[in-house]
Symmetry: C2
Subunit: 331 residues, 2 copies
């Protein structure tokens, strides 16, 4: 069987981890890596990813390299927002490669930016490639997994998905992103910018509401700090009592006067009893719990890599994980 | 939006329950019911299904009625074995309707009967329709759900799926099917026939092994009776101490000398702590539990009905739930 030619676009922590996983897949040939960081361009992809060996692939700074490499699929792991990645995605599509992206807003982009969707969908169809956004959250624990569970329900009245993450065990950028170690005042200031907190909760919510055919009347979102009651140490930082350990973000979605969907996300250092859970009020009712939770750093890499064989078989155009076959590991 | 025209083929307990659910879906128009039972033919479908009202649809005894009804999709709920349903499926396919079937062996039929698969696939493609087998087990709790969980794993070494069902709460045919109330000797005699016990464990196993790209070296299957240590009463029957309460069926699948997959199914009246659980040894490891378990009678109906919109969009031919988009409720 011919191996799938894959290029990695974005060599930050997620992209580096993807490269390490891809390098071990017998069904994949890694054909190149792209990053805009001048510190990385020109170096070997293996070196940039902290691997023991060089891969014989030099990091390039632009997507023009795709014309040389001719990948079947590009794993795209750069930024969270649609307007920041559209040019990158367009370049990859013009390079005639399918795309699996970690861009959170791409998981379910239709409501947030319909014009973006039309442009990207048309361009992808024109070039005969498919594009999808995925990850663990959005992409799995608060959307695809709860939806999958409703697959055995004849009736669904309400879905509650909860994710409690002990950020102590996650990488430093994530600990910083959730505000670990800042003050309450700093938290308020950041929250006021509107760009702080977990990105993608809205995308998860819209995907679930749409799949359930529940019109969205109102989305209520709250973002509160979790506060340390004792000193918390992680391998990267220390949080003193009274400082912020992370975020507690809740999204409640109403449809026809009923709260149909509740997403509760706690990500903080020192979180007790981390878990993922889903409660479905329906017929039959379902109560699912993953004790310890789904380890996010690895799970996001997995969601990306595991989508490679599936995006290759997808219909050209902009797709979501709701269109692709049930996800499973690509071993 | 045009409603989906659905016919029900098979009006036993599962088919009757499907009709009741279908009758409540605004997106579905029930167009007819078929059963071979002379007691049912000629009666109103609503009456046969124990509904309060007639549906204005008369039960027909043969698939020829499909030519009049022109359903988009037929829900097929008759028998468990491929060789018993092939003629029925062929008639429906010639009627140009997509099929969602509860036939357990159809969930993953490729290894058990490749010739059947070739015939049905070719016939379905010829008539431009798609066909899939589903249910809760096989179809969800020991195959699709465990597979879905591996979607966030970069590595999977072993999967264990456990389902403990308290059969007291299930319908009488199921209680009889698992041998509730028979003696150990009767159990041994039935087990020796090779057709006793839960049907579909092998199909679940083969689907998972194939998705994980694990070659199947050896399948070990055991079927043991669960024995009452005290009297167990259900709404339908009573089991005395020392009699059989149900089955304990285990399937272990080896690949390259490693036990990769273990499926453990207990179905017995009076089962304590019913649940569905999945353990994945991998990266990340995952431990999922659905306390109380997935109520099978309802879940099977749901799996069938929820597949209606998905089979309509599937490529023509013989499909499995691994080919269709991630399952979710059709509300």
């Amino acid at each position: 069987m011919n191996r799938i030619r894959v290029a990695q676009f974005g060599l930050g922590p997620i992209g580096q981890a993807c490269v390490k996983v891809l390098a071990q897949k017998s069904g994949v040939e890694l054909v190149g890596g792209i990053d805009v960081d001048p510190q990385k361009i020109g170096k070997d992809v293996g070196e940039v990813c902290g691997m023991q060996k060089n891969l014989g692939l030099v990091v390039r700074g632009d997507a023009a390299a795709l014309a040389e490499w001719q990948p079947h699929v590009v794993l795209h792991t750069t930024l969270s927002f649609l307007d920041r990645v559209e040019d990158q995605l367009a370049m990859i599509i013009r390079g005639r490669a399918h795309i699996v992206s970690s861009t959170e807003e791409l998981f379910y982009p239709y409501q947030r930016n319909p014009e973006f969707c039309q442009r990207v969908d048309a361009l992808a169809k024109q070039h005969g490639v498919a594009i999808v956004g995925t990850g663990v959250n959005p992409g799995f624990s608060m959307d695809i997994l709860p939806l999958c569970l409703t697959g055995v329900c004849t009736e669904v009245k309400k879905i509650t998905a909860t994710r409690v993450v002990d950020a102590s065990k996650r990488r430093l950028p994530l600990q910083k992103k959730i505000g670990a170690g800042i003050t309450r005042k700093e938290f308020r200031e950041r929250a006021a910018t509107g760009t702080f907190g977990h990105i993608g909760l809205r995308e998860s919510a819209l995907a679930v509401m749409n799949a359930m055919s529940w019109p969205v009347d109102e989305i209520k979102e709250s973002l509160k700090p979790m506060i340390a009651d004792k000193r918390v140490k992680t391998p990267y930082l220390t949080v003193e009592p009274g400082q912020v350990t992370g975020i507690h973000q809740i999204m409640r979605v109403q449809s026809d006067g009923l709260e149909r969907l509740t997403l509760k996300l706690q990500m903080h250092v020192g979180a007790q009893k981390p878990h993922d859970s889903v409660e479905i009020v329906g017929n039959p009712p379902l109560s699912m719990r993953i004790e310890g939770g789904i380890f996010g750093d690895t799970a996001t890499i997995a969601a990306l890599v595991n989508s490679i064989p599936k995006i290759m078989k997808a219909q050209p155009g902009l797709r979501t994980m709701l269109d692709l076959p049930v996800p499973y590991a690509f071993l």
